[in-house]
């Protein structure tokens, strides 16, 4: 069987699949790319156990067949090809690949040695792909990194009848992004944060079809099929701990505040929680930091509200900057306690009320 494809189409599609396939694995079959040719199209598939991926693209093909070969060698060759067009001729044992002035023979493996993957057509749900990307991308930062944090290393998707919400937390801060639209399927799932990263890379324009089955979320979008293995465990009831009353709240442009915090935090002690201090009084937010190299401070005018005339709190500068990240315009930063209290502060995006973040201040006294 043979096929003609533009190099760019093959290289771009292959790049997405290759990212997922591990270059080395104790299970050698896992590092294989499977290629299926059908009438008028080529399918590339692979897996890393957490994510199964299949990419389909149209191609000028003759004959059907299934093949397997090491993903990374194939990718390197394709990326390096000199021509605009690639000619593939699959034999029993070898793939003849030529492009422009270049030709190679790549050894093929039995397709049965690659992971046996199943992609369902039972995709009852759908969401706007760019809205899903926005939701996942807005909360991803808050997911935990460390392997001992179990379910917090995932992003929770709350698929409701008329709402969809993405939530992430590492126990110190939390973010959610709320869509006022249902997907057609319902359930709470936790997707590993690394799988979320791959998903947001692949999702483009248009619609993302969704399917939920035992232990797995299936997504189809723009020629890609993904099976995302779900994490065991549940998130705690975070709604209950969002403070409702705030003695002091300030409104300020998020990028302006974020830049100021980052600037002041250059003096903060990285080994002592990267501490920056915030002090609000008379409509002025003062940010200070002190470390082994010196002291910095910056004062910003803010719209101040609340029952108390002033408040002083300290934060890990990174947590504050992260929480402000998704907001493009004004945010309301609501403080619910300081000093020895450690009640979470809340960041609300006034331009996009879908986004909300909580950050726990440092306990200082």
């Amino acid at each position: 069987m043979n096929a003609h494809v533009p190099k760019k189409t093959l290289a771009d599609t292959l790049a997405h699949v290759e990212r997922i396939i591990p270059s080395r694995s104790s299970n050698p079959g896992l590092s294989l790319l499977r290629i299926d040719t059908t009438e008028g199209g080529i399918e590339l598939s692979g897996s890393n156990m957490d994510i199964d991926i299949r990419a389909r693209f149209p191609a000028d093909t003759q004959g059907e067949g299934s093949y397997a070969l090491p993903a990374h060698v194939f990718s390197q060759v394709v990326r390096a090809l000199p021509g605009d067009l690639v000619e593939l001729e699959f034999g029993d044992k070898e793939l003849d690949l030529s492009s422009g002035t270049f030709a190679t023979k790549l050894q093929l493996m039995a397709p049965s040695s690659a992971p046996q993957l199943a992609f369902t057509d039972d995709l009852a749900g759908a969401l706007d792909a760019s809205a899903l990307v926005k939701a996942l991308g807005s909360v991803r930062y808050a997911a935990a990194v460390a392997d001992y944090q179990a379910v917090f290393r995932g992003v929770k998707l709350e698929l409701g009848a008329t709402t969809t919400r993405a939530v992430a937390t590492d126990g110190f801060r939390l973010a959610y992004y709320h869509l006022e639209t249902g997907s057609g399927i319902e359930g709470d799932v936790v997707v590993p944060a690394r799988s979320v990263d791959e998903l947001t890379r692949i999702l483009g324009e248009g619609e993302a079809q969704l399917g939920l089955s035992e232990g797995q979320l299936s997504v189809r979008s723009g020629g890609f099929d993904l099976n995302l293995k779900l994490m065991d465990g549940t998130f705690p009831d975070y709604e209950r701990i969002i403070p409702k009353t705030f003695p002091v709240a300030v409104t300020i442009d998020a990028p302006k505040l974020s830049e100021a915090v980052a600037r002041v935090a250059l003096m903060a002690d990285k080994t002592a929680n990267n501490r920056v201090d915030l002090f609000v009084r008379d409509g002025v937010l003062q940010i200070t930091a002190e470390g082994s190299y010196g002291r910095s401070q910056e004062s910003l005018d803010v719209l101040q509200e609340g029952s108390d005339p002033e408040i002083a709190l300290a934060y890990n500068a990174k947590y504050l900057i992260d929480a402000l990240g998704p907001a493009a315009g004004d945010v309301r930063l609501s403080f619910s306690g300081g000093g020895p209290s450690s009640s979470p502060s809340v960041v609300a995006d006034l331009g996009d009320p879908s986004y909300l973040a909580m950050v726990v201040p440092l306990r200082t006294g």
Binding site: V145, A146, D147, Y148, Q149, A150, T169, G171, F172, R173, L174, G233, T234, F235, P236, D237, Y238, R240, I241, A272, N273, R275, A314, N316, S342, S343, P344, M358, V360, P361, L362, R363, T364
Partner: protein, 361 residues
């Protein structure tokens, strides 16, 4: 012969209670006990107002309340005591590096060659007391002498806010007149045995046969004989900062299964967390040690982005290290948990967690 040493023993007056009275004006002048208020609560420290009613340390709170119905019982705030203790320690180290803390509220100082201040140990002790008062608003009692034992006896001689000096020429007379119960290491049982042997005072101990004393009390007998003779060469050992602390356990029979090892690991983390709490420290690095049945020792460490000190936090990391990082196959004979990267709690800010409800929704 070596030059005569100058040792100061500083003991804070009713430390925990004094901190509470300092921080809460409503408690000043009133009988206060720091301790547990429940039915099994015990008084940790009583203020001098409470001591007049006979309330003392280690007394059940219920009994203390019977002795003194006016008594205000407040729960301990160790963070506040640690902060005050750090301030006091800073005063000590401004005078000498030879500081041996015995507790949060008590330390020996060797001021034979002080870094600053007058050469007279008496004047130095007065300066230390004044500095502590300026830094913390609290009073201390100090004892000055040529050895640790006499310095400690001296600091307890007049409290609160006392300063007692036992100069070398008065040391022997002082020791001779001291009841045996006042000697270090002599509790009620030992005192009984000494009394039975006809020994009631320091003078009796000094005149006793050292071999007979040793036969009666073992090593303590020799120690008491030396002390009573004015021989107390024990150096003031500066407290080197601890680098690590840990706990380990060897199993009576080898364990194979994760379900058997998990509770052991939890207990070890519990113990390490308890030690951290008592020492007022947090840790940055967790190490798990495993010895297999064939005596292979494997250690796995993880340095965390933030400080941990609680059993749950330690346990989560330790479990990953013990069970999920490529563990050697086979039965386990020994399991240990060690923490390092230690820092005092009082001197740091803490990143608290979100107040999630204990049970997942």
């Amino acid at each position: 012969m070596e030059a005569v040493r100058k040792i100061v023993h500083v003991d804070m007056d009713a430390f925990y209670a004094a901190v509470e009275q300092r921080d809460d004006a409503a408690l000043r002048g009133r009988p206060v006990a720091v301790g547990g208020s429940g039915t099994r609560g015990v008084v940790m420290t009583a203020s001098y107002e409470a001591r007049r009613f006979g309330v003392g340390s280690a007394m059940p709170t219920a009994r203390a309340l019977r002795l003194c119905p006016e008594l205000v019982v407040v729960p301990p705030r160790f963070d506040a005591y640690r902060r005050a203790s750090a301030e006091i320690h800073a005063v000590f180290t401004s005078i000498t590096d030879l500081v041996e803390p015995l507790a949060l509220d008590e330390a020996y100082l060797d001021v034979t060659e002080p870094k600053r201040g007058p050469a007279s140990a008496t004047l130095l002790a007065r300066a230390i007391k004044a500095d502590i008062r300026r830094a913390t608003g609290l009073t201390a009692s100090a004892g000055v002498s040529t050895g640790k034992f006499l310095a400690k006896v001296a600091s307890g001689y007049r409290k609160p806010d006392g300063l007692t000096v036992i100069p070398p020429e008065r040391a022997q007379a002082f020791l001779d007149g001291l009841a045996v119960e006042r000697f270090h290491g002599v509790g009620p049982r030992t005192a009984e045995r000494l009394h039975a042997a006809g020994l009631r005072t320091g003078a009796d101990l000094r005149g006793a046969d050292p071999a007979a004393l040793e036969a009666l009390l073992g090593k303590l007998g020799r120690f008491l004989f030396d002390i009573a003779n004015g021989i107390d060469e024990r150096p003031v050992v500066a407290d080197r900062p601890r680098k690590s602390l840990g706990a380990e356990t060897t199993f009576p029979h080898d364990l194979h299964r994760r379900e058997e090892l998990e509770p052991v690991l939890e207990d070890l983390c519990q113990e390490v967390a308890g030690r951290l709490e008592r020492a007022g420290l947090t840790a940055r690095t967790v190490t798990v040690k495993l010895r297999t049945a064939d005596f292979k020792v494997v250690t796995r460490s993880r340095t965390l982005p933030g400080d941990v000190s609680d059993a749950a936090g330690l346990g989560a990391v330790a479990a990953v290290l013990a069970f999920e990082v490529d563990r050697p196959q086979g039965a386990v004979r020994l399991l240990g948990v060690t923490v390092s990267g230690l820092r005092p709690r009082a001197l740091q800010v803490v990143q608290p967690t979100l107040p999630f409800p204990a049970e997942p929704s």
